[in-house]
Amino acid sequence: MEQRLANSWRMTVNEKNFIQTALLSDLRTDGRGPFDYRNLTIQFGSEDGSSEVQLGQTRIMGFVTSQLVQPYRDRPNEGTLAIFTEFSPMADPSFEVGRPGESAVELGRIVDRGLRESRAIDTESLCVVAGKWVWSIRIDLHILDNGGNLVDAANIAALAALLTFRRPECTLGGEDGQEVIIHPPEVREPLALIVHHLPIAVTFAFIGNESRVIIDPSHFEEAVMGGKLTATLNTNGDICAIQKAGGEGVMQSVVMQCLRIASVKAADVTGKIKKAVESYKTIRDLKNIKRHPDSVDINNISKDMEKSKLELEKTIDSQTNDMEIESHSSKKDESSWRHSKHKAVIGRPSSWDPYTKVADADELKATLASRAVATPDLKTDVMSHEKQELNVLVDTLRDADPSPLLLVAAEAREEKNKAKTLLDAVKPKHKRKKKNLSNSNGS
């Protein structure tokens, strides 16, 4: 008993009074205003569906995996969604390994409610064979560093991981047509989940006798606060969940004010998540083409264009107008690149680039040191550089191998230059579907 007390951290009376007095003048210990969020960075791992979110000092990792399971009896044509939160002892010396404590359970429930009951994830599209096989999505949230406000950061990590997760495509086959064949990612491009909206959790802390409200409490402020309110809302103006489990009583007007502030912050955070996911998608699309390291000769270019076209179709299905066009150009860039044997420095710092010569260890170390903090901005700069070379190289490709697929891709590029309307988006999709059918019949 004494050992546990000796090892735990407790806040001193001085620190508590300091925080409360500073708040009376609207000052917080890290220099923020009462309604300022800390710095939010969202990074993605090398696999689909893995995200790492840093909100100030708080660090959380999210992993999404999927599995084919039998559905629940009362919902035979819906997939399932499960959230597992791990309060790792690495985050806080008071977290213990083993059964989750009450704050871990509460966090899991808040994130779960925001996603499941607001129907943010479309579970009906996860059904494969009604009553027999559905996809079960599992979200693991690992708390790495407890710098306060774990709920918000965990929510963002879960959303970021879900947006970048790809589940394998499966078709019905076999003798009786009831067998489910799961296609590995090399054969068929995996599919994204259908996410209708993004529920963002915003946490408010009430500190002191006058119940001053602050947003995004750090862990010092959490130790001092008298009550906490978490509001989960989306940019459509819907309130997905509100959690206020006990603590100090607050006036109705204060709660309404909190909700108004929360809707502003939710829009902000949604924008940041979407931006991070888009830049990750472009990097990932580039990496996808590099997955097929065939020799670079004319015969293979049509094969590669086929593969990239399949990928294109999938990306079009899952993305918006603007992203469509971007992924077009990024894919064409990559294949035209390989044709002209460009050596480029793309991909994450620790990934092997099969097209550069085998570098010796020192060179690699030097480049690693310089690229250790690779930001998405660097990648987008490389992307724009590629786009400039696009026009020159597509012409050479057209001369080299006038396959119908290439022409379709070129047409799509020309359409990009005209004003973008919904019709433009719809037309190429249908064209591509017909071509795909003919190809699959032929192959």
Binding site: E2, Q3, A6, N7, W9, G45, S46, E47, S50, Q57, R59, M61, F63, T65, E86, S88, P89, M90, A91, D92, P93, V97, R138, D140, H142, L144, D145, N146, G147, H219, P349, S350, S351, W352, D353, P354, V358, A361, L364, K365, L368, A369, A372
Partner: protein, 243 residues
């Protein structure tokens, strides 16, 4: 005869190693190590008061918690915890802080082969970051054996699954191995002949095993130089994390 490896790596070529210290704010010491695509995060808390039951109170106790990426904690995780704990017990100076517990938490971020070596490097860096007194650092390497008897160093996940057998070795890496040629060859040889941990999967002949050990030992000096350089290159000043 020569097996072709992904990315054109040679048989004796390791993937790029990167190591960052002080990545977490609450932990007393933390480090993140990546070897190729494999990434491991380690955090150290300690020394804390008291030892666990059945542990010798006259020495410090080391506690390892291994957290996999997804899924429940099962037997493989418990085995890895035990391996890490015994390896670290050899490296740490246990008599400096008797009747204390040092907790080490290892989180797997991505596993692409050579997971245990990566974890050991991350743990050593985290222990250095926390200021736990160590006898020496540890350097670890994974070697796999192909059907034709060729030895490949630092296999990726696909290679590990395809190969006949693979072995993971941990060697101590002391000050002597970092000093340039002034140090007497006798002292360096005596420390480098030790193998702290050896873990094999699959079947291999005795000769093959010793060939792997030779390859591993040859890689110890350059590997430990790289790791020490990475650890040293971080900023020297760091505020106390006792609070």
């Amino acid at each position: 005869m020569d097996i072709e490896r992904a990315g054109g790596r040679g048989a004796n070529q390791l993937r790029p190693i990167d190591c960052f210290r002080d990545v977490l704010s609450r932990a007393h010491g933390s480090a993140s190590c990546s070897q190729g695509e494999t990434r491991v995060l380690a955090a150290v808390f300690g020394p804390k008061a008291g030892t666990k039951k059945n542990e010798n109170p006259e020495k410090a106790c080391i506690e390892v918690i291994w957290k996999p990426k997804t899924g429940q904690i099962g037997k493989t995780e418990k085995e890895l915890e035990m391996i890490l704990k015994r390896t670290l017990q050899n490296i740490c100076l246990l008599s400096v802080h008797p009747n204390t517990t040092t907790s080490i938490i290892v989180q797997v971020v991505h596993d692409d082969g050579s997971l245990l070596p990566c974890a050991i490097h991350a743990t050593c860096a985290a222990l250095v970051d926390a200021g736990i007194p160590l006898k020496s650092l540890a350097v670890s390497l994974c070697c796999c054996l192909t059907e034709s008897g060729q030895i490949l160093l630092d296999p990726s996940k696909l290679e590990e699954q395809k190969m006949k057998a693979f072995v993971c070795l941990v060697f101590p890496s002391s000050v002597n191995s970092v000093l340039p040629e002034e140090s007497t060859p006798a002292t360096t040889k005596s420390t480098e002949q030790e193998i702290i941990t050896s873990l094999t999967h699959g079947v291999m002949t005795v000769d093959d095993y010793f060939h792997c050990v030779e390859q591993g030992r040859a890689a110890v000096a350059p590997l430990s130089n790289i790791l020490k350089k990475k650890m040293r290159s971080q900023s020297a000043g760091k505020s106390s994390k006792a609070a």
